[in-house]
Amino acid sequence: MSLKHEIEFTLNGVKRKLAVDVTMNALDMLREVVGLTGTKYGCGEGECGACTIQVDGVSLNSCLMFAVDCAGRNVTTVEGLTDQPRGEALRESFVEHGAVQCGFCTPGMMMQADHLLAKHEHPDAACVKRGLEGNLCRCTGYKKIVDAVVACGGRDSVTPAQAGVQK
């Protein structure tokens, strides 16, 4: 029998109490126990970023985190992101820029981009590329994603068309 442990934490602003398998990772907990499937399983070993969530305000790979380690912490997934103005602005910018193709990388990209924008309000393309280094996309070739994040950072001053020609 696998060992279980009860944890309490905040998930997307709501207090949760769950019994989890001690060896389970946070990604499996979110998808299989809680039933929030926005967070994706890409590689399970920290290489692709599809499983990116935020814990106490920083982004990390949920596949590399023990579920029990969520205890007492504040966890945000893509499902909770668009409740916040910056998350909603990011979503709109991704749509406007066509930064979503198959969409598999998108939740992780948005979670990482949101963390980047929390640290750098107006990042340039180099800063965005650096920030998204841990997120792989098999479809878009990254340009539209980078444009979407740069434009979101410069929301008031940069139109999508201008952002597209930024270096």
């Binding site: 060992l3 970023g49 982004s59 990390l60 590399l64 023990f66």
Partner: protein, 288 residues
């Protein structure tokens, strides 16, 4: 090996070292090594899984007398962004900057990097050239016992250290470098992010009137442990950093390392890289 029977998240150092007394404990910090290693079956859990995140004495970065103390739980991101580290320990900043990805830097801790003891662990080479000491805590009888060990003697093999199963790493201590101290780190991989070092080099010393003294050189990923390059150090110690000295040191470096062939590079390539990059780094130091 026993089966996992207990999960424990102590809130004080005393509780943690008491739990470690029996030695049958798997320690969890950021989990970026432990999660993939346990899920792939490369490591088996011991009887207790102990999460050390809630121990206050293990976090933070502070100036204590003439030393900078970095708590074992400090993440790579916290270290890289900390003003004390940025001011005094550029080689460590450089290593953190080239570490994995933002997500992994946000989760991975320096204590985990040290205890995982990978020959390619990126903070280990700068810690070696900065004369760091590893802080250890245990409870031999009924009292907390703490001591420090130079990191140059800490590693005994790939994934192996002098730390006993009853000990916890609580932090690292680095002497504040004197004025005129220089330190550099270089990591070679094939892509900028999420790459394990093919080789890495750290160089440090006091530079005065073009002469390097108290020289420290260390290499990563060329042996089962990160190591100090003593022959290269002697080729530099007290000498004027001119072209001849630099070339002699680069040759000493190439002769001194004995790397292996693996998926990331051949031994020959690693030796050439050690020569060329040691040379380039020393040229850069000479211009400082």
């Amino acid at each position: 090996m026993t089966e996992l029977k207990r999960y424990y998240a102590p809130t004080s150092l005393d509780q943690a070292v008491e739990c470690l007394k029996g030695g049958n404990v798997t320690i969890l910090a950021g989990g970026t090594d432990l999660t993939p290693q346990s899920q792939a079956g490369r490591i088996k859990f011991r009887e207790t899984l102990m999460n050390i995140r809630h121990i206050p004495q293990m976090s933070g970065i502070t100036l204590e007398g003439k030393e900078i103390r970095i708590g074992a739980l400090a993440t790579i991101t916290e270290i890289m962004e900390h003003p004390l580290v940025r001011e005094h320990l550029p080689a460590l900043v450089e290593a953190c900057d080239h570490f994995a990805s933002d997500q992994i830097r946000n989760a991975g801790t320096i204590g985990g990097n040290i205890c995982n003891a990978s020959p390619a662990g990126d903070t280990l080479v700068p810690l070696l050239v900065l004369d760091a000491c590893v802080e250890l805590a245990s409870m031999p009888e009924t009292k907390l016992y703490r001591h420090c060990m130079p990191i140059s003697t800490f590693f005994t093999g790939s994934g192996k250290t002098r730390k006993s199963l009853c000990e916890l790493v609580t932090g690292v201590r680095i002497p504040v470098p004197a004025a005129g101290h220089v330190s550099r780190f270089y990591k070679h991989g094939t892509r900028p992010a999420l790459d394990i070092s093919t080789i890495s080099i750290g160089v440090a010393g006091n530079l005065k009137d073009g002469v390097l003294s108290n020289v420290r050189v260390a290499f990563g990923a060329v042996a089962p442990t990160p190591l100090r390059a003593t022959a290269t150090e002697s080729a530099l110690e007290g000498r004027h950093l001119d072209a001849a000295t630099i070339e002699a040191a680069a040759v000493a470096a190439r002769d001194e390392v004995n790397p292996i062939d693996d998926v990331r590079a051949t031994a020959w390539y690693r030796k050439e890289m050690i020569h060329n990059m040691t040379k380039r780094m020393l040229e850069n130091v000479a211009q400082a």
